[in-house]
């Protein structure tokens, strides 16, 4: 594997997924997946609908805990800690591993309050500190110019693309190390999509980004590494260029050439 963006030894910041299985009651959704997500890179998870990409993504920030009947086995090591361990409290974990959902879902509050929510929960009550955080997050999400002068307005009055960037800003406001994105552009128009893809490119300077996407071209544009999933199994994982131009598995090639999915 050719490593892009070779960084200093930050091996411990990688997310090492080891033999992870996820069951929804009797449904074996994720089958024995092992992969190493490089830190400060963008990793894309692709594959046809229902292949488990979102499930895997959600296991990284323990969102699957909220689903009744969902069982996860295996280990995900990050910073020398097994995230899946019973002794790990998901609440502080999720501050470090943020998530952006498929459908933009701002809270029915003002723009300011949406961004401030995370910080307020973690103890920053108000005042200048909060203002700075809000401004910084909105700038990092490339939304400040558009809404900076109307922070008191309801978030619901923004367009779809703006709302999604708002959600990204909201996630950024709590200063995570990892950002999980579940098909963030699928509900957006091409222009908004382009803006977000630019954003992702910027984000990888400071964050580890894992993005689930239906859109192969997007994966090709945006990611450094790509993992191809099919029916709960990780079929192939590697350098994006290699996966797209020179897939090793036949299944991967069939998917790329559009024979199915």
């Amino acid at each position: 594997m050719i490593l892009k963006n070779q960084k200093e030894s930050q091996i411990s910041e990688d997310i090492q997924i080891k033999n992870v299985d996820v069951y929804y009651n009797d449904n074996h959704a994720i089958k024995n997946v092992t992969m190493n997500i490089k830190s400060k890179c963008v990793t894309a998870l692709i594959g046809p609908s229902g292949c488990g990409k979102t499930t895997l993504l959600r296991s990284i920030n323990r969102m699957n805990d909220e689903i009744v009947g969902c069982r996860t086995t295996g280990a995900i090591i990050w910073n020398n800690v097994n995230i899946l361990g019973k002794e790990i409290d998901p609440v502080p974990l999720r501050r470090k591993i943020g998530m952006v959902f498929q459908k933009p879902n701002p809270f029915p509050k003002s723009i300011y309050d949406n961004i401030a929510y995370g910080s307020r929960i973690h103890g920053i009550r108000g005042g200048k500190k909060l203002d700075i955080i809000v401004e910084k997050s909105l700038k990092n999400a490339a939304l400040w110019e558009e809404v900076g002068d109307r922070l008191e307005e309801s978030a619901m009055s923004l367009s779809g693309g703006q709302q999604q960037r708002l959600c990204i800003a909201r996630t950024l406001s709590i200063e995570p190390k990892v950002i999980l994105m579940d098909e963030p552009c699928s509900a957006l128009d091409p222009i908004a999509t382009a803006k977000i893809e630019d954003l992702i490119d910027n984000l990888k300077k400071n964050y580890t980004v894992i993005i689930v996407t239906h859109n192969m071209q997007q994966a090709a544009r945006v990611s450094d590494y790509t993992g191809f999933f099919y029916l709960g199994e990780l079929i192939e994982y590697g350098d994006t260029e290699q996966i797209f131009e020179n897939p090793k598995m036949e299944l991967t090639e069939n998917y790329m050439t559009g024979r199915f999915g």
Binding site: M63, N105, P108, Y117, I121, G123, G126
Partner: protein, 645 residues
């Protein structure tokens, strides 16, 4: 007909996209509009009933309008009557306000627990129990307040024999089912992905529940609180028994006092010959009507504010309405608006100070979990409180009445001999009443809600309609009784029959159905409708196939609440239902007996055996309610389980 066909044919040939005259759709929309406007007709009837009496009151030389509004003595009888409404007003504020202050937070807390923290099994047990609470007739509460609560208050708090506090406590418990049920539905309707997103930001469950779900559900919650307040204001029986029958200007809950509704009930059902004391009752009713209208208007604005989290924009069009009252309302609202904005700014400034003065230590995780634990303890405590009261009440009733229940009790007719007396015609009468009420109220109420929410444009008229309907919820039940008598018994000439009784109850429960149905409809995401319209469905098809089926749980909650209310209310039937008969009604034009009026009658008899009979009848009433609720809840829970959005 041929010409019409020709016109259509031409349209088809020329351009397939011409707007077709969809007859069916237009009729349905029209019918819905009529249902909604029925509320106007009802309100006009009520206002007419009240205005007529008020007119003769205010034109009486003994009455001074200014003194009426500002006077502090209400002594309507005797040589030197005084008609200052303030004591009655204070009584209503004290009792209804007190009940709301106790009941709304308690109910909300219980609802948060039910909706966000309770397991599936616990929820399926507790929610039906809450709805049974809704059906316990107020007369039972009244007696319970007097016999159980008052002595405790006298013992430990040195209260009077009659005191407002026992009424407050009991009315608070009475409004709990409304607040809990509707708030719970409102919170359950908040889309799951909002909760997920909050959790994904590292919030605890408690923080998610209080900072995300509650605000998102605010319109439903406020609707529930308003309905609760309306119930508290319109309550007559409990107050009459426990709080006292004398107008007393006080805000001390341990003194005796009388509310506006109680006064109306007193003069309507008493022996005072028609005269100034009686017409004063109508004037009081009118004041009550106006007050509830104000409250509803203000609350509507508050909902918008909370929901969108932003200041209400001044979107008033340049053409000013010249009506004085509306501009007064607007001024008051602006005032309230600016005060709340002031609060917000102060809070923000305090935030600045806080961060500057001491090193803001972030809320540690430990602290947050502590908050969560405290929070959960508090709210589960409230559920326990509610349950304990319910258990005491039910156990009390069962002990008093269980001996009286036998097959002969259920199949005999009432009698002056307590040993012979039975409630067969009473049960039948109530069941028939329920059916009639259901047949009229459900389509009318749901239709009105559908019209308002799905078809009507947001005009002044529709906002006015909505306000009028909400207002009806606050009318004292005795006024419905008077109205039913005047309109259905006399003007329509249905006589004191099942039909008159059913129609009167329909009008009384209509606002409950409309408000809860509207909330249920509002909870359906707009995307559902968009998807349907996107494939070319008409509005009505969208509603029928996509919105209504998903709104069924909430609509059913509303219907359950409404029917529970209807089956237990005495006042509306006081002038229509009989308390003795030898036959069962065979047509809807026959006279009838009903459970609440029978209970009320037997409770006020001197013989203790009749009190026992009353208790036995209450047990039967509760069993019927349980049956009704169970059926509806099974339907509702199946619908809710299927929900995957």
């Amino acid at each position: 007909m041929k010409i019409v066909k020709k016109i259509f044919k031409k349209a088809d040939e020329e351009n397939p996209f011409y707007m077709k005259f969809n007859f069916r759709e237009k009729i349905i929309v029209f019918l819905l509009f009529v249902s909604a406007s029925a509320a106007i007709a009802i309100s006009i009837a009520i206002i007419y009933t009240l205005a007529e009496g008020s007119f003769s009151f205010f034109t009486n030389p003994l009455v001074n309008f200014l003194e009426f509004l500002t006077g502090v003595k209400w002594i309507p009888s005797g040589n030197n009557p005084s008609f200052g409404i303030l004591p009655l007003l204070s009584g209503t504020v004290l009792i209804a306000g007190g009940a709301l202050l106790v009941g709304a937070p308690l109910g909300l807390a219980a609802a948060v627990f039910l909706s966000e923290f309770a397991g599936y099994k616990l929820r399926s047990i507790v929610k039906p129990i809450i709805e049974i609470l809704a059906g316990i007739p107020s007369i039972v509460y009244g007696f319970f307040a007097l016999m159980f609560i008052s002595p405790i208050l006298r013992e430990y708090f040195n209260a009077n024999y009659f005191n407002a506090a026992s009424a407050i406590v009991v009315i608070a418990i009475m409004i709990l089912p409304i607040v809990i049920s509707i708030s719970d539905d409102a919170m359950k309707a908040v889309p799951n992905h909002l909760r997920e997103t909050s959790l994904a930001l590292g919030a605890t469950k408690w923080e998610t529940a209080t900072k995300v779900v509650l605000p998102a559900a605010s319109s439903g919650i406020i609707a529930s609180v308003l309905l609760g307040l309306a119930r508290a204001i319109g309550e007559t029986m409990v107050v009459v028994l426990a709080a006292g029958s004398i107008a007393n200007l006080t805000l001390n809950p341990f003194e005796e006092t009388m509310t506006m509704s109680a006064y109306i009930a007193k003069v309507a059902t008493g022996d005072i010959p028609p005269g100034i004391a009686v017409s004063a009752g109508f004037a009081v009713g009118l004041v009550l009507f106006i007050i509830t209208y104000f409250i509803n208007t203000i609350a509507a604005r508050v909902v918008i504010q909370i929901k969108t989290g932003s200041r209400v924009k001044k979107t008033r069009k340049s053409k000013q309405k010249n009506i004085l009252i509306i501009s007064i309302i607007e001024k008051i609202l602006d005032f309230i608006n600016s005060i709340s904005n002031l609060f917000k700014r102060v809070k923000n400034k305090l935030g600045y100070l806080r961060n500057n003065i001491r090193k803001s230590k972030s809320l540690t995780l430990k602290r947050r979990y502590l908050n969560q634990r405290i929070g959960i303890t508090l709210i589960s405590g409230s559920i326990i409180c509610v349950s304990i009261f319910l258990i005491i009440l039910i156990v009390n009733i069962i002990f008093s009445g269980i001996d009286g229940i036998s097959s002969s009790f259920l199949t005999s007719f009432p009698s002056r001999f307590s040993s012979k007396a039975g409630i067969l015609p009473v049960i039948m009468g109530s069941i028939y009443l329920m059916l009639i009420t259901l047949i009229f109220a459900a389509p009318l109420g749901i239709g009105a809600a559908i019209y308002l929410n799905e078809f009507a444009k947001d005009t002044h008229y529709t906002r006015f309609l909505r306000r009028i309907i909400q207002n009806l919820a606050g009318v004292p039940s005795i006024v419905f009784g008077l109205m039913g008598l005047t309109i259905f018994v006399r003007i329509f000439n249905f006589g004191p029959s099942l039909l008159s009784g059913g129609l009167t109850l329909t009008i009384m429960v209509l606002p409950i159905i409309v408000v809860t149905t509207e909330e249920a409809l509002r909870a359906i995401p707009y995307s559902f409708r968009e998807a349907s319209l996107g494939v070319g469905s008409t509005r009505w098809q969208t509603v029928r196939h996509h919105v209504l089926p998903n709104a069924t749980p909430g609509i059913l909650t509303g219907i359950i609440l409404a029917l529970s209310r209807a089956i237990g209310e005495t006042a509306p039937l006081l002038f229509i239902a009989a308390v003795f008969a030898k036959t069962i009604p065979s047509t809807i034009f026959d006279g009838f007996l009903a459970l609440p009026t029978q209970i009320f009658y037997w409770t006020t008899q001197p013989q203790v055996e009749f009190h026992t009979l009353a208790a036995s009848t209450i047990i039967i009433l509760l069993i019927i309610l349980l049956a009704m609720n169970t059926i509806a809840i099974i339907i509702r829970q199946r619908a809710q389980a299927r929900r995957d959005w």
